[in-house]
Point group: C2
Chain length 183, copies 2
């Protein structure tokens, strides 16, 4: 399977359901890049329209890819080498199309059941490239969910009453469900 | 399944393989507590012998369980309610025995294949309570691995050459493999 991952910082919602732009979290970059590298994801797109946030991401990446961090912990640079910056969803879709040579199937993730649900089995059997969208803050804004090809079911155990995984955990679990090798 | 989780800060190894004590990471507490609550884990034990670190954990827990954080984000307090502090492995085992009324099967996790491997299917079919040990830094020290009932296989995709998931991701994936509801 050819999977790319995008972490969206705008438009997302806050806990009141209002559309906001979220700040980039350093540990999201690290944890999600490490999970992407572990499971064989192609690219990890970080989507934010804010120039100061883009600059911060570039500084973090430079530290680990070519700076002191690259010498101290080369494994980290290898994971962060997957990160690409995009200003918005339009340029994200353009970048993935250009890189994969075709439109990917775009699947959003959500902590709530959104309808138009694909099962994980369906996703594993899907043809062609896949792009998975993850939202920061309280999740992807409704206009993002309205524009995708499908939504993955929320993650949970037997008691589904608590749906507050970190996005770092959600990415890891979903990549394992789609790409993980059981042994 | 009755599963408890322990995050061990001593004894663990650094990247040179030397036995060290690691500092507690705030986001480990949050992410792992949220994953434990999501998947129905009983208790999340944080194991550290250092009094200043224990004090820091108590302050973080108080903020989210009864302080300002409890009012601002009650979901977080609900997850962090699972956290219990232990000074060392001996008191961890004592606490789990007392709480579960019997010895749990103790399984360690490792980013390397350690032998004495259990498969995830075997673990899911196991009787009685389970205690999962996760190491911080570069993983659990050899003396910890030597004293457990088994070791879970490392997590990865088709290409198993990169084994540097964050412990936050590893806990999330393993709990999903053991307790996650597929839909």
């Amino acid at each position: 399977m050819q999977i790319d991952v995008a972490l969206v910082h705008y438009p997302v919602v806050n806990k009141l359901g209002e559309t906001i732009g979220a700040a980039v979290t350093n540990l999201d970059l690290h944890d999600i890049a490490r999970a992407c590298r572990t499971f064989g994801v192609g690219s990890f797109y970080v989507v934010t329209p804010y120039h100061d946030q883009q600059e911060m991401v570039r500084e973090i990446l430079a530290h680990w890819r070519t700076g002191h961090g690259a010498r101290a912990n080369p494994d980290r640079g290898e994971a962060l080498a997957l990160v690409k910056l995009c200003a918005n969803l339009a340029s994200l879709y353009e970048a993935v199309n250009a890189d994969r040579g075709q439109h990917p199937t775009v699947l959003a993730t959500s902590a709530r059941s959104e309808g138009r649900g694909w099962t994980y089995d369906q996703v594993r059997r899907a043809d062609g490239p896949l792009l998975l969208l993850f939202g920061t803050a309280w999740g992807l804004a409704p206009e993002v969910l309205a524009g995708v090809d499908g939504v993955l079911p929320p993650i949970g155990g037997a008691d589904a009453s608590y749906n507050h995984l970190s996005v770092r955990s959600a990415v890891s679990v979903i990549l394992d469900r789609l790409l993980g090798k059981r042994s």
